[in-house]
């Protein structure tokens, strides 16, 4: 009996590894999409945006209402999610952050963190009052379970979400490296003072960065919504994931966010399947501690300015 079992377990194990690797990569694509916006804004403004998770949360609510109240199709709901995220992000930048980084206070970076953190608490509380704490569901674009090679099982929604995430991150790469907006962003990343001397309007490009960051967060949440639920404090989980990704990948690095997002997804799924289920969130965290101990600046980050 034992010989027969051994004969059977080896290929089973391989199949399980392949399945979990694919599942992890698909999940990781969404983590990357959540985190690139955060990384972009940090690179340009040196602002760690604690309200990023709430951009995502409000985006997913917009998607739910687009479908349930206005009867829009699922793809239009994703556009609504991105638009809502972008709008909230823009308002955040203009109302909350700009007065702070125009001021002359000390420890501006830390103060923007407190301001965005209070904003995120307010948005969660306000959403709870307006929409209640019910867990809502969003229909996906491709509601079917797919089966490859007899042993890889995937939901169509996951595949759609992953493809959209990769396309969006690819678009962001194109913007950053091939357009004038991207050149301005990179200039601001290198030196805000130098960029303003050569005539780059910091506020305009900061607004663009926030628009993109909010749209990505909203879209990521809209893509995640069919796989999870939509509720007011869902942004906190999203934020923790995004933080872990940017810490692992290196603050301000878009490629780093992509690689770290995929890595995080794979590590989480592998840990859940092969170590112990129930501690899914702890594996990414262990990865983060390991990276901090070995490479404090992240896998792809440069040791930043001396401030």
């Amino acid at each position: 009996m034992s010989a027969g079992a051994d004969h059977g377990t080896k290929p089973m194990m391989d199949q399980l590894i392949v399945q979990s690797l694919i599942l992890g990569l698909l999940q990781g694509g969404l983590y990357a999409l959540l985190a690139v916006g955060l990384s972009l804004v940090f690179g340009i403004l040196r602002v760690v945006n604690f309200a990023h998770g709430e951009f995502a949360m409000l985006g997913s609510f917009a998607a739910v209402f687009a479908v349930t109240s206005f009867g829009m199709p699922a793809w239009a709901a994703l556009i609504a999610a991105a638009a809502a995220g972008a709008l909230v992000a823009l308002i955040t930048n203009v109302v909350v952050l700009r007065p702070i980084y125009l001021s002359r206070m000390r420890q501006k970076g830390e103060y923007t963190i407190i301001a965005t953190f209070m904003l995120s608490q307010f948005l969660i509380a306000a959403t709870t009052v307006l929409f209640g704490t019910t867990y809502r569901n969003l229909p996906g674009l491709w509601e079917s379970n797919l089966n490859f090679f007899d042993y890889v099982y995937l939901s169509g929604n996951r595949l759609v979400a992953f493809s959209a995430a990769i396309v969006m991150i690819g678009t962001l790469f194109w913007i950053v490296y091939r357009t004038d907006t991207g050149r301005a962003w990179r200039a601001l990343t290198q030196s805000p003072l130098g960029a303003s001397v050569v005539g780059i309007d910091i506020h305009k490009y900061a607004n663009y960065a926030f628009l993109v960051s909010g749209a990505f967060a909203g879209l990521a949440a809209g893509l995640l919504a069919p796989l999870m639920f939509v509720f007011p404090s869902s942004g906190v989980v999203a934020l923790v994931k995004a933080f872990i990704v940017v810490i692992i990948g290196g603050m301000g690095s878009i490629g780093g966010a992509l690689a770290a997002g995929l890595l995080l997804g794979v590590v989480e799924v592998m840990g859940t399947i092969f170590v112990a289920s129930g501690y899914t969130d702890a594996y990414g965290f262990a990865l983060m501690i390991a990276v901090l101990l070995l490479r404090p600046a992240g896998l792809f980050g440069k040791m930043g300015r001396a401030i």
């Binding site: 940090f42 040196r46 760690v48 604690f50 109302v95 909350v96 007065p99 702070i100 001021s103 206070m105 000390r106 420890q107 970076g109 830390e110 103060y111 963190i113 407190i114 301001a115 953190f117 209070m118 904003l119 608490q121 307010f122 969660i124 509380a125 306000a126 709870t128 009052v129 404090s233 906190v236 989980v237 934020l239 923790v240 933080f243 872990i244 940017v246 810490i247 603050m251 129930g278 501690y279 969130d281 702890a282 965290f285 983060m288 501690i289 901090l292 101990l293 404090p296 600046a297 001396a306 401030i307």
Partner: protein, 319 residues
Amino acid sequence: MTKSMHYAIAAIFAVSGVAIASIGVKPIFADLLILSAYYLLLAGSWNLLAGFAGQYSFAHVGLAAAGAYGTAAIVNAFGVSGWLAFLIIPVFTAAIGGLLGLVALRVRGVQLPLITFAFAGAFAVFLAAASDITGGSMGMQLPKLVAGFDRSPYLILSGLLVAAFFVIQNLVLDGRIGLLMQSVRDEEEVARGIGVDIFRIKVYAFMITAGLAGLAGAFYANYVGVLAPSMLSMSEMGMVVAMAVIGGLGHRYGALVGVIVIRSLEHFVRGFGAEYTLVIITAVALLVVLFFREGIIAAVGKRLDRSVQQRRWASAKAS
């Protein structure tokens, strides 16, 4: 204010705890005051860490939760008296805070809040998931410190704890370590240049404030008696940050003012229901953050200074 006045304020709290307990108040007020003491310990020690040492940690409530769960663990598992936890737990959480500092302080500036935030998030997940140890979301119980429903021992205890907090804060801020902490906050590079071991100062600041957070946690566990992972939800951390910021970060009594403002607000808007309470409190905190960046104490102080100057000017013109 002079040094002795700062100690007098600590003494006032110790005495008023005894006074209120002997006069006797309605249970609902006693509850309000006792939990306010918990929040004061937390917000005050966070103010010490963020406002004076410049290290913005979001794991502070997590450390208090570690203290509370630690209290429950030693009381339940080893049959230690809850009183002894007030001595053991601060040492335990200070050690955890030190370890956290050793990992998290490898990066500087704005990355620290991110890392501590992720730490706290993971700890909350652990508390909920490790249900065989912590009881999960069902909660973990421990016997009461004082049998019965009389709240006066807790009132006396909260007065003493607040007094102890202010004494420790005075010792830290008036001592060498407080000056070094502020030098790290104001100009890290200059501080390093004149020979301050900034890493060590930051770790010390983490340990001192983690010890205070642990004390708060031990008190919470002994008073409330049931612990649930919701104790370290991010909205709790938001409350603590709001309290410190509303009063004024980096002001000795900033946390005190913030706790008074938020707790009385909480008390008076309670009638609207829990969700509305949270909206009102976070909205007030957000407005203060946006429009009174230095906090209420500094804003009122400036207003007073100006009116004093105007009066002087007016009287000089008249004469």
